[in-house]
Symmetry: D2
Subunit: 511 residues, 4 copies
């Protein structure tokens, strides 16, 4: 088995070359898959060979003499771990040097490469206090608060007030120092007729935008009077999209055929990293000599971005080991399209694809929204043209308002508003002259497990919605979609009835 | 002056017809501009005339007999106010009725229209407690907390903890009940070479996504070692985009010419609503028989969405009064494109258009990011193809991560991540083999005044950045852009060096 | 089996109601699948029953008395055929009438519906001469030429000159009257290293744009000096995209699951219509209560739009018969996206996806194009940003120029330039400092059989390229791609060297 | 005045270095603006100075000794001309050499630069016969035909038949060898109610797509019965979009301000190149350190792409001379977006923006199209969703079909179908239950002068439409739009009535 030389070179940790007392040190990092080093054949620095007895290696523990490594006494070199090589040949001058290495490994066989690296210089800079051992203790949090106060000259009065033990934020944030307190108002209850969410839900909305809660509340009233909002999750997919570069397009196309033939093994590698992630399909996009593979997974109750990153990396490691013609590889290619609005997300789902719909009886609409179905439908037709010409990712009114407020309240990754902002509104005036209105959110990224969902207020808000525990993420997605439709009908009616500006006058003060 | 009949009809408040003791009541709302009613000529219900002496009117105060209204004793009918008409002719049956009205006004002259409306039915529903007189008192907040607990059966332990007087949230939220506590970590300091932001800034990031703070922090270190990040605001524009419908395209085109000829008066009307908003230009987009006008403003330190709504509404009111051929009008057409990602925002700016750039010396990049300039540049070239084919609004890595974390921390309207998620990354390997990297955020919507910027923790975070007070919004935009570039270089390097997955392993626990 | 009532109603041929001597006539058209009428139970006109003995039917041949139709003497009612019903009950007044029908069919069972139709009025208008029996004879062609001359007062001197028998145009055009003579120039020969096209090709370009042939010729010289252009077809797909409307999203999602379970039968129905079309896969896009199915086929040497239309219609007929919950159905939904530029075509291929690529040695580029690899690559990086912000479907220079000229010369459907105009250019400066340049045309719609490929000059040009006969379409696609790359390198170099304007000065006179 | 060094270097004609009898020769090309060389100070080859008396210069005529050039005896060096420098110092070896030059010019002052160039090698290749003196004579055309026959082994029988003198193709094509004969059928007459086109027009359609002429003809009948089609040109703009690269974004932004201040001078320079082109406005798009200027012109009866290229180049030459901070410049940046479909064209017009619209009476639609207004409108609503999700540039049916057929017939640049394929269809069911249908073609690129419009059959077709002569281009645009709408209503009705596939069966044979 042969490793592409470009991948191989990346084993060397660029920038790791440093002078130590009696020589230099540099590192290799295993970026491919578990391996062992069975022999270190040769190290040359600036074309001068380093005698083997002046070389030692360590993988985080004791240093081992290079001469002691052999097929029967191999050095474990696990994935994502580094081995440091120490050459006791005197220090090097500042500036660039050339290092060449030959060694044997299992399962990659004999490897050899040459790189240029410069002697690293240490830099001292001001930085936020950090405690290697316990970075979430009250003491280090307080130390950071003090540092912030001293650095900025501002006395902290609010961000240092929170109601939970800082240690719950471990894994959610580094340098934890305090909290943003975002106001929560409740709208509803909203009657949801979902497959997972059934009944009335009181909805926590974390926002600072005046009129938002009132507007959603108004829409919920109308949906309730119409028998509730019907919500359905129609798609579920989380992606990671590596790219493989070949010598030419033909090699790329052949690679895709090979991927198809080996999809079962690829799935096995991917799914081996998690008990939850299931690889549903791999989309492929060929352009020039590039092959973009877009891995699609279901990820249980988690949003799953990291889960699918790991799974895809495992699959790609196997691919890289197994398919020799790959020239370059990156785990991400902008095809995922994580934290981005994109046409591919609108088309092919990212996170949950969920639809909320309702037939609003004519009289309900008129009496509670001051507008008739024809006017709302007429405006929707014009708004379609507006969205089409302006190239918008949403032909509706303001779905991100409700989504964002729920995301902040419930500990979602709020940056996913980028993707989750897309929406497709469709209306009809029914034969009975009522209003059918619906919105599909094609890339709603939500979780009821992982990320910020376990934090204090965030988990509490999920509890209020009955969305804590296993198997709740589709229920939560349905509720979000229902809330969004409430906002759509509310604002669509306000715009159509020209009531819009004046309602802002009434509620919104701070702008 | 003639009012388009479709606009006129909208004066009647659909759904307002209700039975009262001795007859019926319904409302007109002034959606055009300040006026007075100089005579009520005739009211017919189901084609039966109502004697004038059985009609009274009120505009929120005392009832006035219809017969008392005359040119010399006119009834003030201000913009956005309603007049209720009370007809003492006995109650009406349930179902639809036809109402016709004739009256005289200044400056619109004689108006007459006919509408159908149904007798409104009152509906009782469960709703969140509300206090008409003071909805932000500790008592009503507590009452809502109790209601939430009783409705859901969940005992509140965290969202009811906050460090400020609830009354500060007035104008920011309705039904205020508590707060979401979002963890804040600090990254930096980051050296910014802006026109407005000059010096080092410690950056508060509110997030629950593990590795985010660490990753931005890593990027900041590299930017600092490169002499800091150069940031420039190159555009500033906030929009509202009404649509005017005509009989045909030719009328629409002629209207645009008229708008051009009257732009000074239109500006005067628009700017008369605010001491801050300045109308810079009006873009026009013609399609079919629709004319989309996109009003572009500067809005001082505010994000300005509501400010420009009011200003545009005032301008449109004057237009509607002055140009008779308009058939329909809506204040928004999806061309703004508020809370949406769109090509027009990428092209023509929404909020601030801001660029951050830096030349990162080769050695700094290699020693601190373990990757050389060529590799980052090569990946950027491939990521461009990925973004182009997938139809993404961003060819960079993850700008919304930093933006969202700063938005939550500083009280921005976080739903604007929809627009603010767009980004254009451009890299070069310089003749000196260093890395030029830059990002333009074409629609960054930020404020240092208004919205949530005055809330407790939010204002505190703005203070930490020195962004409180008049004229700070561009300073804040520059800092945001600088932070974003730190995140770009950090993630681009991680992807390019294949270090990306393993770093998530190290920091991120909760997913 | 139940036919959706909306589909059923469409059996009635709206507008077919006409007065004849002794009564009225109207038509039903079978839009579903082959059937027989086993009984005509009842016909009512304006709610008055028509006695059965006053009703006769015909399917293009003799009239049959309604009473003679029975299960044992059924009336054949094939797909896409009409049955005319003749009711001898006196003529009707002008204006609207209501017709109701009950009848039995195999396999649909008892059908009944009611429609409103108005008595059709005949209109006389000037029209182009037409010969029902032989519309391609020299006589009728001459008659049309005379008509054109008389109608316009222009004496025809050129469009009436052509070198072929008009009858060859049958199936390609109606009202054939003459030809457009589009100048052809030859570029090349171009050396193509394809899988199907191997060797040197002299390329006919039909155009009126000065410098086009010269520019492509220049690019071909450079490609030849670089060893030729490598071309690969990496995708092949032609689509038709029907839409199915349901009561709600949930029904739509369930339908998609049913489609998956019945894909073999659907394929069988689709492929039964042609010996060539093969259904590769059916993509599904759910939005609101709409389900868009995008059928993907390979179509041999034909472009295949009509072939896949027929195949998909057959499949849908079976679906409509078999799945009762469908509320509406249209064979096309704008998702195909025929004759349109679209993101989906760029992503997922329409027609052929073909890549041309070449490594141009540094010296060849400099000596023949007056520009170095770095400058072309630098310009490509900037042009990427230009394409990204402007929302273009092509980040290259001008691929539609060569494509259009070849399309006209070889009888392609030139309107497909809409789709075929998309292009993705990718460049690298190689480690050897040469220029790698490639273009992927993601939706190149070409044929070597069918459409205009059999016409006189068109077929001759295909012969010149060795692309007549079975199995030549990928060869042709490869040649087109090679030609396109020649144009890209030529114009890219001209823009990069600033030579561009002046070359137009030299060659182009007529603008 | 200082020339940016990067621009300056481009004066040297890369690849021009060649050995001649007694030395070497190389060229400078003036790519900036008219100038004179007032002194040649120094020439060094591989760092060895060439004595002045061994240097001669020529600008296409006689050689002049370097020593004879002086401020009072300057050498004219006009824009876009080359000066060849002849150094009589013996031949050079193959491979790279370094040349440095110092000279004085008016108005640029002292210039000096150094470049590397390799000795050019002559290559012999097979090429199409060419006659330098008269490349459009019958003899050279025949020679090319013979060459084609011999090279391919195919006897020409059709492409060598044409009805005009080949010399009319000068400026339209190089290597003219024959013609493509594209069948023309006539549809109509169509009644157009334009501002420029008024009356009935018989429409030549050059196509090989069966049913196309019949389908458009059917639509025209319906439009005529509805009183004709109303057509209006609502926009007119042709672009060229240079890009300027700066050291950083701030310099770019300041440049834009300078452009604004100097817009009158820029306009003067641009408009000085043509009596027709008028610069209407310059749009600017800033990204990173790039400034894209998009020059918008009206261009009379010409399409104008070359005209605006020249005009913009002149304006940019002045800008480059006048604004010293520009680092790079290219005349095109993909922002034009010539020969591309793009969102910016849909938004901001390229060529003509033209709308066709019609109210089709309910009965006309039903009796002639077999479909009612509600069904067409309903389908349009669904097709909007299809276009929105698929990212299409057209929410209508098939406007490029009619456009392409008219483009080929009338000598338009058919590659502009890329841009012209965009369309925005908008429908309403009127209060009278009739169908309002309209299409806006936002980027219809048409000409009645220049390009292929003067060719034989092409000019004849324009004559048939009354579109030859001054001031006819908007008339032609209106007719095209009217034709397009005929096709839209025809196909929309066919799809809506499910008649679509069967009509293809009837007419289309060849696919």
């Amino acid at each position: 088995m042969k490793i592409p030389s470009l991948i191989l070179k990346q084993m060397y940790t660029l920038g790791s070359l440093e002078n130590v007392e009696d020589g230099v040190r540099f590192s290799l990092k295993n970026r491919l898959s578990n391996a062992t080093v069975t022999q270190l054949s040769e190290v040359r620095i600036n074309d001068r060979q380093v005698p083997l007895d002046r070389l030692t290696l360590d993988v985080g523990g004791d240093e081992i003499a290079a001469s002691q490594i052999s097929p029967t006494s191999a050095l474990a070199f696990p994935l994502a771990r580094s081995v440091r090589i120490h050459a006791r040949t005197g220090q090097l001058d500042k500036g660039q040097h050339e290092i060449s290495l030959s060694f044997n490994t299992e399962p990659f066989g004999a490897l050899a490469f040459k790189v240029k690296d410069a002697i690293a210089e240490r830099v001292k800079r001001t930085s936020v206090p950090h405690d290697k051992d316990n970075d979430y203790s009250p003491e280090i949090v307080r130390a950071r608060q003090t540092f912030v106060e001293e650095y900025t000259g501002v006395k902290l009065q609010h961000i240092n007030k929170f109601s939970f033990d800082p240690s719950v934020t471990q894994g959610n944030i580094e340098n934890f120092t305090g909290v943003a307190q975002v106001p929560i108002g409740f709208a509803g209850p909203l009657k949801v007729n979902g497959e997972h969410a059934q009944g009335e839900f009181l909805v926590p909305l974390a926002t600072a935008e005046g009129t938002l809660v009132a507007s959603y509340n108004r829409g919920m009233k109308v949906l309730n009077l119409s028998g509730g909002v019907t919500c359905t999750v129609v798609g579920d997919s989380m992606q990671r999209a590596p790219v493989f570069v070949f010598d030419n397009a033909r090699d790329g196309r052949d690679f895709v055929q090979w991927v198809d033939q080996n999809i079962d093994k690829i799935r096995e590698e991917a799914e081996g990293t998690s008990s939850v992630a299931k690889l549903t399909y791999v989309d492929r996009y060929l352009s020039n000599k590039l092959v973009f593979l877009r891995f699609n997974y279901t990820t249980g109750d988690a949003a799953g971005q990291n889960m699918v990153g790991r799974a895809t990396f495992a699959a790609c490691s196997w691919i890289l080991e197994s398919y020799p013609k790959i020239c370059h590889f990156y785990l991400e290619s902008n095809f995922a399209t994580d934290k981005k609005s994109s046409q591919i997300n609108v088309m092919r789902t990212r996170g949950k694809r969920v639809t909320a719909e309702c037939v609003i009886p004519r009289d309900v609409l008129i009496q509670h929204m001051r507008v008739d179905p024809e006017t709302v439908h007429y405006h929707a037709g014009i708004a379609n043209v507006g969205a089409f010409i302006s190239g918008a990712n949403n032909n509706g009114c303001h779905s991100p308002n409700g989504i964002t407020a729920m995301f902040i309240a419930t500990g979602q990754d709020v940056a996913n508003v980028a993707e989750s902002s897309a929406g497709i509104v469709y209306t009809e005036v029914t034969p009975e002259k009522d209003l059918y209105i619906s919105i599909t959110i094609p890339s709603l990224i939500v979780a009821t497990h992982g990320g910020g969902t376990g934090l204090a207020t965030q988990r509490e808000c999920l509890e209020l919605l009955g969305c804590v525990g296993k198997g709740k993420v589709k229920k939560f997605a349905e509720i979000v979609a229902g809330v969004v439709l409430a906002g759509e009908i509310s604002l669509a009616a306000a715009i159509s009835s020209l009531d819009w500006v004046s309602s802002h006058e009434q509620y919104g003060r701070n702008r």
